[in-house]
């Protein structure tokens, strides 16, 4: 058993880092879209309009009930077969779409719970000073719900960053794809995957720090 080839790892790391923007780009785009979609789904779950509520339940059930990888294959390989105009959907777009739908199903529930977690007395106070439902949502409920939801949503974002690695199965040369390619020509699998593991780990660790700062900021008003 030979020791690790550190020089290979030192060589590989800078190259892999050039792929980091693709990974983070897909995760960020996915997160933004998922936040918008999840907020919409959450509002539907809170207000329960007749047909939309059932559709939303079905949507959440499907995207929570099937593996992300299956969903990605469905979008990338399956959809173009049915909708021929989608032939040109590239791996990156399919990944962002998959991440959005998959994670919005989870995030909708935590946003719904966060909205429900804002005390009813806040709504009454806002109504008593003449605010409309919209103003009350925008100025009172959502800001307080955000504080409740941030820790869970950041967890989903971290999960999403790691899930972008599945994009390599759709031929996207992101962090994981690049590692896989390099390893199969160098045969230094252990070094290659250890390197990429460390990169993911550091990125997530930095994000956790960011999360702490964000939470601290959101808790500022609650400090005594």
């Amino acid at each position: 058993m030979s020791v690790l080839d550190f020089s290979y790892m030192a060589q590989l790391a800078p190259y892999l880092l050039t792929k980091l923007p693709i990974t983070l780009g897909m995760a960020s785009a996915g997160m933004l879209c998922a936040l918008v979609l999840a907020s919409l789904l959450a509002v539907i779950r809170v207000t329960r309009p007749p047909v939309l509520n059932q559709l939303t339940l079905l949507f959440i059930s499907f995207f929570r009930g099937t593996p992300l990888l299956v969903q990605l294959f469905l979008f990338y390989y399956g959809l173009p077969q049915i909708f021929t105009s989608l032939v040109k959907v590239d791996g990156i777009t399919a990944t962002i779409l998959g991440l959005t739908l998959h994670f919005s199903a989870y995030m909708a529930e935590s946003i719904r719970a966060a909205i429900a977690g804002v005390d009813r007395s806040q709504t009454e106070a806002a109504l008593s000073i003449g605010m409309t439902q919209g103003q009350l949502m925008r100025r009172i409920v959502l800001p307080q719900a955000t504080r409740i939801a941030v820790p869970t949503l950041m967890n989903y974002f971290i999960d999403m960053i790691k899930s972008t690695s599945l994009a390599f199965t759709l031929g996207v040369t992101e962090l994981m794809g690049a590692t896989q390619k390099d390893a199969s020509s160098s045969f230094m699998y252990f070094e290659a995957f250890l390197t990429v593991a460390i990169i993911y780990w550091v990125v997530v660790e930095l994000l956790s720090r960011l999360q702490k700062m964000l939470e601290h900021r959101l808790n500022r008003a609650y400090a005594r």
């Binding site: 007395s121 806040q122 009454e124 106070a125 806002a126 109504l127 008593s128 000073i129 003449g130 605010m131 409309t132 439902q133 103003q135 100025r139 009172i140 800001p143 307080q144 504080r147 500022r220 008003a221 609650y222 400090a223 005594r224």
Partner: protein
Amino acid sequence: MGSVQTTSSDIPMIELQRLNKWYGEFHVLRDIDLTVRKGERIVICGPSGSGKSTMIRCINHLEEHQAGDVIVNGITMTRDVKRVEQIRRHVGMVFQHFNLFPHLSVLDNCCLSPVWVKKTPRKKAVDTAMMYLERVKIADQAHKYPGQLSGGQQQRVAIARSLCMHPDVMLFDEPTSALDPEMIKEVLDVMIELAEEGMTMLCVTHEMGFARTVADRVIFMDEGQIIEENDPETFFNHPRSPRTRAFLGQILGH
């Protein structure tokens, strides 16, 4: 505004006509008739569960009534959202648990509705807010958050927040019940001052000293009905109903 006016006029500010409300099977308000004139100060008391809070919460539609009419400043309450909002802009409310917005500073608590609901320019809203915060003697805490204040301070901010909308009438729902004894006076003092300035007020409270000092009328409720109403002197010294006498005996502690 600002002129001291202690006599009430004949203009009805609030009219409740044969007001009825049920929570499921429970008949919480039974044929309530009440007219409050402009400038009148009403204190409402009664045992818990007697419908006092529910009644005043019907006035700004935080509770919906099932029968009868609620008329505020000549406008009849309906379920129409626009009308409800319009009425609420003229009716201030102070809650037992203050209900300040914890994520906003004291100043922003006061400016929020003037800026977003009334579209008052921010600068003017701040000036008004500071004026009212000054009046409830808490202007020096304007940039703190509610969580950093004592209960009495928070309740005074809540009163200022309501006043910033320039309400025609103020509803107080047990404003001192959640306060430590030493903080009750600072809140009552603000309320007394407000009464002296001629504000129309409906206060659900068990502070009988306050009732004696400021009330034009004291109303006693039990089991969803108005049992007795009278001027404080008659109410406290010559209560008519045995239920009133029993209640007063309990809360006055003799």
